[in-house]
Symmetry: C2
Subunit: 320 residues, 2 copies
Amino acid sequence: MIKIGLDAMGGDFAPEAAVKGAVMALDRLKEGSRIVLFGDSARIGEVLAAEGCDADRFDIVHTTEVIEMGDHPAKAFQAKSDSSITVGFGYLAKGLINGFASAGSTGAMMVGSMFAVKPIEGVMRPTISSFIPTLASRPAVLMDVGLNVDCKPEVLAQYALIGSAFAKSVMGIESPRVALLNIGEEPSKGNAQAQAAYQLMEADGAAGKYNFVGNVESSYIFTGKIADVIICDGFVGNTILKMAEGLYQINCRMGHTNDFWGQMNYENFGGTPVLGVNAPVTIGHGKSTPKAIMNMILSTERTIQTNAVGMIREAFAEAK
Amino acid sequence: MIKIGLDAMGGDFAPEAAVKGAVMALDRLKEGSRIVLFGDSARIGEVLAAEGCDADRFDIVHTTEVIEMGDHPAKAFQAKSDSSITVGFGYLAKGLINGFASAGSTGAMMVGSMFAVKPIEGVMRPTISSFIPTLASRPAVLMDVGLNVDCKPEVLAQYALIGSAFAKSVMGIESPRVALLNIGEEPSKGNAQAQAAYQLMEADGAAGKYNFVGNVESSYIFTGKIADVIICDGFVGNTILKMAEGLYQINCRMGHTNDFWGQMNYENFGGTPVLGVNAPVTIGHGKSTPKAIMNMILSTERTIQTNAVGMIREAFAEAK
């Protein structure tokens, strides 16, 4: 039995969008998966009733508080001990749920990830990642996409290890091609950070820790020809992600929509997994629609089911 | 009389593409502008003859050597003293031409910019910029796009001053909106570099040095709504530029072409101006087609004609 925790109070349109998304996910879940909703049970019940959905199809954990976007994440996580996020992380830390997803306060979700479920032993800095569409048969994984904006080269090399294990588990790729995002192909290219990271990643590759394929320029990340996992710092990754979203919006306006560009839509991303911590955590866009919530639940289920956390933990245990 | 120098031997398809591009530019030049070709006069003459173009329509400076892509830029600039690039920069430094453009060795072009025409007094690090298309009536200017990949915040603030003067002159914008590329709108967002640069640029804005409008996220740079000049380091700028080119290629393949996306095509860029040095210098793509060369000549003409260098020099004299 897989239990997927969802913060029913998280996001700009909660609890309506969150609960509707959970209802939409029901028919798409694998057998044996169950959604656990954290939030105001009366309000959750109202949305379920309006949707014509039997409340028994969910576990509901009643909470009385909500961490708001304006709250100080760390303080609110402590002070609002009966908030949906704080209670959700309590369940996650105790193993009462197998993963937790929210479109609420990103800061509070990170506080929970770092202090309730904690980084995996050996991980210097956990990371957040995103799938990006490619012309190949599967998307690529980009990380970090905004959590760590000043990365030491050692941290980037760890992201390669995390990303490789994540792609192996969640995407089922036997030997994911891991590349460093850079502004040229040659090892000597890039800023001081990229040059140093290249050396570390090359050594890791030679040691068999992961399949390092060298540098990838941003012109090629969407082709899928070079890399399955693309490593960069959070400033660059966030810039790439937001630029893709911006151009997607422009293309939509121009009527240029298709499967490739459609994957740039955050609704289809399924949220952003927090990686390098001891349990599956997924953070959604504040403006998440029901569809986005549904995809976030399904991607969290996949992360749980494919044992992504276990594989990352194993990779770090072996790398010691 | 404006004299625009062109390296006829520069680029993967030289001298054919370069000379053909020069011929294409002839009818589009302003009255009083003249192209000066640097290169092997016999080979130039052959291409002109094949094009049915009278050689008298150009000034031709015969040179006997070529700096190859594989050459060490600084060494070759010195050793190949009769190369088209070295001779071209000699003419530029002496004022015999008013600007110089080449699709040849980028490294050698930078050596010439730094040591023959030299940085403008007060400029710590010259920069290269690019026009990027927007949904508004005019493009935006992005800088740095690959020259300085490790930028101190002070250098970024100088780029704002350079970019503002450039947009004033070349684009005729009275008070260009200058923004810092960042991963959030708030001043506190970003990495250490962006946070520090924000403070400096805010102070510059308050002092009336340029019209600082705050941070711009990459999702908005193509809308044109927020900024005319977008400042970032060369690692990020190059990543943005190459990503745009990559997505343009993908769109082309999918048949999604239009005026907006067409401007992502390097052929329409007209090359990359080197800014912050004492004369107009433009660097083209190695693979430049005749059309790309033509646009590079025309953009160099515009930079000369609008006195961009003088305006940047003035801005730095005032800022002292």
